[in-house]
């Protein structure tokens, strides 16, 4: 998506509070395949983990910003654990995705981008709802 629309849309990854730190109420990591991360308690710790993330997922084509350890921006956008938004040139919310993980839908963001850029919508197969 970044490669396709990056010339007309600015993509900003905002690194927020961990979703599944090993010492959190929802621990993941290690044998289940997820990265092992202790919940950062300082800004420097969060920055270190953000850099690990950037390298491991090879995200350098995109700009990554880091939220303060007080989680102010993440909380303002109700972003935890993950969420997508599109902000238009006037500074207004053009698309507000649902909270992740289950409502985190990159296809919806792409549809919003294409609508903003006056591009033809992509015909997608309707998603099957889980039983």
């Amino acid at each position: 998506m970044h490669a396709t629309y990056g010339d007309e849309v600015e993509f900003l990854m905002v690194y927020i509070r961990e979703a599944h730190a090993l010492d959190s109420p929802w621990p993941m990591g290690g044998k289940d395949g997820a990265p092992i991360v202790e919940d950062p308690v300082t800004y420097g710790e969060r920055k270190d983990v953000a850099q690990r993330c950037m390298q491991a997922l090879d995200m350098s084509p995109m700009t990554m910003l880091i939220d303060g350890i007080d989680n102010e921006v993440g909380d303002t956008y109700a972003a935890w654990p993950d969420r997508l938004y599109l902000v238009d040139e006037k500074g207004k919310v053009a698309y507000a995705g649902g909270p992740g993980p289950y409502a985190f839908e990159p296809d919806e963001l792409e549809d919003a981008i294409r609508a903003k850029l006056d591009l033809e919508p992509i015909q997608r197969k309707p998603k099957k709802k889980g039983k």
Binding site: E10, G29, Q55, A78, A79, P81
Partner: protein
């Protein structure tokens, strides 16, 4: 291959396509790690007795309570590996409301995270960069030494007003 969480997989969907076939993939940034217990014991088991006591644990006390589930003052491999998800409410109980479509997006200005792979290599003190003449560049070196530390780069959402739309992707490594 690095197994990824659903959120990380979704984030990858936003990235450019993979390099062409003859370009080798970049090396993984982290060494492979086996278990949470191996991570913890490597970091905290100071006396290497196979247990981590509260005294050895140098993290904050609130985090210890999430590890020492039986509250006996120490944790071992069995206790750590048997942890499942703890059905507790979110750490903060603030009610949060997402910004709505059509409303003004909350402003922010945040620091840019720099990929360590793209930072200039740090050299030991006294070692000059190849091709540089320390005598000729003496003044430059002094000026560099006396220069104030570079301010971290920041980006504000307002920087793009009147210019282009902004896609915001909120998430974390886990």
């Amino acid at each position: 291959m690095l197994d990824l969480t659903p959120a990380a997989l979704a984030l990858l969907a936003l990235l450019p396509l993979a390099p062409v076939a003859d370009e080798p993939p970049p090396p993984p940034a982290e060494p492979p790690q086996a278990t949470v217990w191996e991570f913890l014991v490597d970091k905290y088991d100071a006396n290497e007795d196979g247990r981590i006591t509260k005294k050895e644990y140098t993290g904050i006390s609130e985090r210890w309570k999430l590890l020492d589930l039986d509250g006996n003052g120490w944790i071992d491999e069995e206790e750590v590996e048997s942890r499942g998800r703890v059905a507790k409410p979110r750490p903060d109980k603030k009610k949060v409301t997402a910004p709505k479509v059509g409303r003004k997006a909350p402003t922010f200005e945040l620091e840019v995270v720099t990929d360590p792979a793209h930072l200039p290599e740090e050299r030991p003190d006294g070692e000059e960069e190849p091709g540089k003449d320390p005598k000729k560049d003496g003044k430059d070196a002094k000026d560099a030494k006396d220069a104030k530390p570079k301010e971290p780069e920041t980006i504000a959402l307002a920087d793009f007003r009147g210019k282009r739309p902004v896609a915001l992707i909120f998430g974390s490594y886990t």
